[in-house]
Symmetry: C2
Subunit: 123 residues, 2 copies
Amino acid sequence: MTTRTELPSTEVACCAPPTREPMTAETAAVLAQRLKAIADPTRLRLLSMVAAHENAEACVCDLTEPLGLTQPTVSHHLRVLVDAGLLTRDKRGVWAYFALVPGALDSLAAVLTSQQPAEGAAV
Amino acid sequence: MTTRTELPSTEVACCAPPTREPMTAETAAVLAQRLKAIADPTRLRLLSMVAAHENAEACVCDLTEPLGLTQPTVSHHLRVLVDAGLLTRDKRGVWAYFALVPGALDSLAAVLTSQQPAEGAAV
């Protein structure tokens, strides 16, 4: 017979285990890259301006003047959005046309909303 | 009688007007600031780890080790998330506890999904 009792572990007391699997490092890296592409005021406005046009497509000639930026600066931002898979670029005649990639912003938003409290975890 | 015909205007042909009002510069600046806070792999993982815990709240003592980063680095990232209004910080005893601000990620996601093609504009 022993009189020894279990000592409460302070580590256990402070540290509840997660109730579900958190995001992996790989997923976080990919998602951060796409979020960086839109985490810029000019690029957000460009996306919004393209979305506001008929068929969610706009000529580059429509996008430069409202921003008050030079053509090379606007072209740089548009390229970042194309590289991030958020816009497509289509050269027709002398002008380039940019269109929203259907569902791209939706899928980004869906990842954010999936980072909610685990089911049944509400207080 | 005249043989002159109307020349097609290339300006008009290239430039369709927007079908709705695009995002203002002020809104874009505020949104970009919040997106910057989450456009980082470590901060995305921290948000996800907090969300994965019961009641969407986790002790800082649970967050450092899985990331393999130093405590000051993790604290810096947590502070950015608190400043962006995505996490709350509550000191209880020796540990700080971080909780998701209810609806904060949802409202961020909602702004993204609202940047979709104008109604009836689908091809």
